[in-house]
Every structure is written in C-alpha cells, then in structure tokens.
Symmetry: C2
Subunit: 138 residues, 2 copies
C-alpha cells in the first residue's frame, strides 16, 4: 500500500470506475480497452497498463494470471485494508472471490510460521478452486 498516487485524470478515473463496477470479476487490459473505446473515450494501451500497475502497487487492485487466459487479469479489492486479515478463495469457474475469516486459517498461518519458517502474506495469497455453487451445477 503506497502513497495517494499522483494526479487525478480522466483516464485513471474511468479505469477505476470500470473495475469497481465489476467487483468480483477478473478484467483484462484488453476488455478494459475495448470498453473505453465503446464508450467513446478511448485510452491508450500503454496508459491502461501503467494505470493498472499503479493501482496494483497501491493495493487497490489485485493482478492474477490464470492458466485459462493468455493474459493477466485484474480485480478490484473492495474492502481495502481489511483484506490483510482474512483469506481469499477464488472460484476458477465463476470468477467470484470469497473472503473468509476462519480460525483454521489463522492456525494454518501460525503453523507454517512455526514449523516451516514461512510467514504468509494474506493480502497476496489467493486460494484457487471451485466454489459450492459451481460444483452443484455439475
């Protein structure tokens, strides 16, 4: 999580606006570019990538690289700072992101720290899998 970030520009606001209105979904740079063009307010590719990177380093977005896609996905993180206190479960099928606060996970964290010497950074960690809803559909 860094400083407030630089100037406020039309491009930056539009990019963030799109991401926030697609909470819980993963968005690619290309989708974003296409959307902004359709809106009649195109933004250069380089700018899109630069803004996304900036938002990621500010902790506003999270960057994913899913196997199914050939390109990176970005997702808005709604709960800001709170996300460092719980784990994230990301459904590979519907793309939904679940925020889980659970003693088991806290225990896991301390177990790994004590027995494996590794301090997990919850804000960077995402557990991937398939959620209950999607499993029922099958």
């Amino acid at each position: 999580m860094k400083q407030p970030g630089g100037y406020k520009t039309r491009q930056k606001e539009q990019i963030l606006q799109y991401l926030t209105s697609h909470e819980g979904e993963h968005v690619t740079a290309q989708e974003l570019s296409r959307h902004l063009e359709d809106e009649g307010t195109p933004v250069g590719t380089a700018t899109i990538y630069r803004c996304l990177d900036q938002l990621v380093s500010e902790g506003v977005l999270r960057k994913y690289t899913l196997d199914s896609r050939t390109c990176a996905c970005y997702e808005y993180l709604p709960h800001g700072g709170e996300c460092s206190r719980h784990f994230h479960l990301k459904c590979l099928q519907c793309g939904k992101l679940y925020h889980v606060t659970c003693e088991h996970l806290c225990e896991l964290e301390s177990h790994i720290l004590e027995h494996h010497g590794f301090r997990i950074d919850q804000s960077k960690t995402v557990l991937y899998g398939v959620c209950a809803e999607c499993r029922e559909k099958q």
Copy 2:
C-alpha cells in the same frame, strides 16, 4: 491422461530428462532451451513448446502460470500426478519456491471443503509470503 505418445526422439528424451532431474522445481521453456544449448545439443523453440504441451496433456508435467513470471512454468509430476499433493510457498523477496507436504495443509483443504463448500485446487494455488532465510536477513 493420454496414450503413450508418438515416436521416441533425442529431443523428447532430453527434455523429459531435464524435467525429471529438476523434480520439485518450476522450469520455463527458456531455461530448458538455454540448458540444452549449453549442453551442446540445442533444440528448436517450437519443438520445446510442442513437447511440453504433449507431456502436459499426457499428465507427465503440470503447467503453471505464476504471477511473478510473465511466462509459463512446467513441473514434473513424479507419481503420475495423483500423489503430488503438496502446496507451494513462494517467497516474495528471494523468489524461491518451497514445496510443502504437510498434514496441516491437507486438513485445511478438507476443512474448507466441508465448512465453506470450496474445493481447493492445489495445483493452482500458491501461498505468498517471506521465507525464513529472508526474514533472518532483516
């Protein structure tokens, strides 16, 4: 998991040989290419990718896409894939990847499945944090 695959060639054997001798590590196509060139037995890029894809579809290798890397990683699956039930811990500072097989993690998996209805896919999940070595340095 498919049939035995086609002909046996020098290139195919060397690629598999490298992967098996680096069990537990994530290898990229580029590293593989570089290695084979250093050995004095270079293999064309296209061939490398074609062989890797083939081995993945045969279930011999697993393909990853880690966030930190921009390219895909491949890993040999020692026991036909089913027994490689371990989690990955990735150090954000030194970049090292740790493979952890631990009952605690298996329990965690079943806990999340039972209590949260979410089936974790270990092959897609990487726990990020800081390893013991890097923490000592600080």
